[in-house]
Structure formats: structure tokens, C-alpha cells
Symmetry: C2
DNA sequence: GGGCAAACGGAACCTTACTCCGATAACGAG
DNA sequence: CTCGTTATCGGAGTAAGGTTCCGTTTGCCC
């Protein structure tokens, strides 16, 4: 509690070099394992792949949600930022909504098991759930409202419900060639149109 | 192999009275536990509730899927049989389809965790998956075809995909007051209408 | 009542998530 | 460069649930 200066104002004191290195290594390893074994891969596998102990994983990412968020943060941010951009560049709000939902669906179906985990009621995934909502819900709501204002869709659609439904439709979309989540989501979006 | 009577023609040799009794007890206990703790409740809980040992559960129901099927068989059969009945009694095939899907959704959302398990890629649930498909897919296909023939919906809708999608939309519909699976399914069905 | 096969019960074992603590090594001061 | 402090490391330990196995019990048939 001296002049270490970890107070509110300054940049946090740089962490130890090995800690930073391990964090990066873990992110890479986790990303690789997620691709092959899904986001619910055993923690041990990730630790082994990264060549670190289990303690290290839990220190950097106390819950699995933290790890998943860290791995996919960039892509989620990109998706969030694409919303306003699409709204500006597409001819109609409805078109923008469709394109954006497509981005979201593409993201989910290519992440083995992520959609399932997103809807899990396991308390350990609350942080993940919250992050997705916090980041993407406003974007979705904005697109929905624009489309509703333009009179293209029924006005009583709740953004949360829609996101939840789209997420649900993406569950298990990999590993089942007979099931094409994109097509069903398109049907759902078609169902939004003003009756 | 003579009077045992387990041959093809006769009634299967009656099982021992205690075995039959235990099977019933297990079904009752499982149904009760499923209501309170969901279909993924610990096996031990069910055994305890039924007052039997673990071996007994696995002997009667080798996989969890077997147990779930046995518990809900009646309701699934009822749902399957309601299909043709609705088709006969409703003014239009589309109305029948809507009503039938509603039955299916009501069944799923009132069975804590069942929808999630239905889409699980866990090999242990293959039998459950197969049973649902075998029993309900033909019904759904019949309704879809009738509606398509009547020109009420687009003709390129696959029954498997639709059932899968509806099942997915039901995941987590309990324990989340902000999410109403029925409404989303209605939107999806609305999206089926001929463009 | 006696013999036999079916059924029972639950202890033992496996896998996975998560915690804890002694050992280690980075960083900064002298 | 050396040394002390301290954050970090690694893996053994704990807990919870699923599944199997086998000695014991019990219904059934004669």
C-alpha cells in the first residue's frame, strides 16, 4: 500500500512477463481446442495443449465463460460494430437486419457448441450470457426499431426474444447435415414481416 | 426354449412380479424427479426416490434415453395421434399444422430440460432422438404436405428441419420469463406462408 | 420345501470440474 | 550482480456424478 500506484488513475502496473505470455498461449490453445472439441472441451485438454498447469488456467480465466469471452471477443465486437454500418449501407433497415442476423448466425454455427452453451442455464455461464446481451442486444434493438419504424416488420418484436430465438436455432447446426440453421433463421425473419 | 414362450408368436414370458413393480415405481419416481429437477437429474436421486438401488435403474433402463422415452411415451403417442385428427377437424391444413405445432411446443416447454436433451449430440441420447423422429416426423410431414398442397405454405419446407427448429426454439423456455417460445414458434410458422 | 435363475442393492471405479499450497522464477533495489 | 519480495506456476487433492460389477436376495416352478 505504498507508492505502488495501482490506484485508480494510472495504467495498471504491467503484469509479469511470464504471466502475459501464458495468457496469450492459453488463448491460442483454447481457440485451437475449441475448434476441434467444442467450447466445452475438458479444461485439462486446454491446459495440456498450452503446456501449463491447471492452476494457471483458472488464475487467468476463473470461469469457462471468461475464457470463451476472451477467445471470441474480437469477433463479437466486430459483429456488434457491423450493425450500425449495415444500417447505413443497406437500402432498407430490413435488409440490414437480415444481413446482420446472418453475420450473427455465421459466427455461432462455426463455433462448435457455443450456441448451446449460450442458452445453458448453468450459472457458470452467466458472464458469457451477459456479455453477449450487453454487446449485441442494443445493436439488434436498433436494427429492429429502424425496421419497425420503416413499417417493414411488425412492431411488437422484442429484441431479446429474437436474439434468444436465433441463438437457439443455431444449436447443433454443425454435426447435422440435415439441419440448416441459416434457412430456419431466414424463415423466422420472414415471419417478422408486417402481416 | 419350449414353454418359456419367449418365442416370436406368444406374449413375452411374464417377468417376475417384483421386476414389474419396480419398473412402475421407477417410472413414477422418474416422472416426479423430472418435474422438479429436470430430465437430467442425477441417477442417484431417481434411485433414492424410488427406493431402489442403482443397479435396478440401469437394468430396466440401460440409458437415460430409455427412461425418458418410457416416462413420456404416452404423451408423445398422443401428440402423434393428434396430427391426423387435427387435419380432419380443422378448416384448413395450415390451421391444423399450427394447432399441432402448438401441442408439440406445449409438451416440450413443460418438460424441464427435455428440449435441450433432444438436441444434444451426446450419443447416449440417440435412442431418444430416434424415437421422437420416428413417431412425430411422419405426422409433421403429413401436415406440411397437406398445407403445401393446399397452397398455404411454401412447398420447400423440410419436416425434419422444421421439427428440429421448433424443438430448438423450446430450449430454455422455462426458467426465463423474458423468453416465450410459443411466440417465436408462431413467428416461424408465419414465415412458412407462401411468399 | 428346495433349487435355480432372475433381480436386487450398493460399493467401487472413472471421468471431469475446481481448489489449494509448496516450489519457482521474475522484477526491482542496492 | 546479488538478493529479497512476491506474483505466478504446476499438479496433487477434493467433490460430484455416471456406470459397472458381483455377492446376496427373492420370486417362481416343481
Amino acid at each position: 500500500m505504498k507508492d505502488s500506484g495501482e490506484g485508480t488513475g494510472h495504467a495498471a502496473r504491467p503484469k509479469r512477463a511470464d504471466a502475459r505470455r501464458n495468457k496469450e498461449t492459453l488463448l491460442d490453445a483454447a481457440a485451437a481446442v475449441f475448434v476441434t472439441s467444442g467450447v466445452e472441451a475438458p479444461v485439462r485438454d486446454i491446459a495440456t495443449k498450452a503446456g501449463v498447469g491447471m492452476g494457471t488456467i483458472y488464475r487467468h480465466f476463473p470461469t469457462r465463460a471468461d475464457l470463451i469471452i476472451a477467445v471470441y471477443r474480437h469477433q463479437i465486437e466486430a459483429c456488434a460494430e457491423a450493425g450500425p454500418a449495415l444500417l447505413a449501407s443497406c437500402p432498407t433497415p430490413h435488409a440490414a437486419l437480415g444481413r446482420w442476423i446472418n453475420l450473427f448466425v455465421d459466427f455461432l454455427v462455426t463455433k462448435h457448441g457455443l450456441a448451446a452453451v449460450l442458452q445453458s442455464d448453468d450459472a457458470g455461464f452467466d458472464a458469457l450470457h451477459a456479455y453477449f446481451l450487453e454487446r449485441l442486444l442494443p445493436v439488434c434493438a436498433q436494427l429492429l426499431e429502424a425496421a419497425a419504424t420503416a413499417g417493414e416488420i411488425r412492431p411488437d418484436v422484442d429484441a431479446y426474444e429474437l436474439m434468444r430465438g436465433v441463438g437457439n436455432l443455431c444449436i447443433g447446426a454443425d454435426h447435422d447435415p440435415r439441419y440448416d440453421a441459416r434457412r430456419l433463421v431466414e424463415l423466422l425473419i420472414a415471419g417478422l414481416r408486417r402481416p
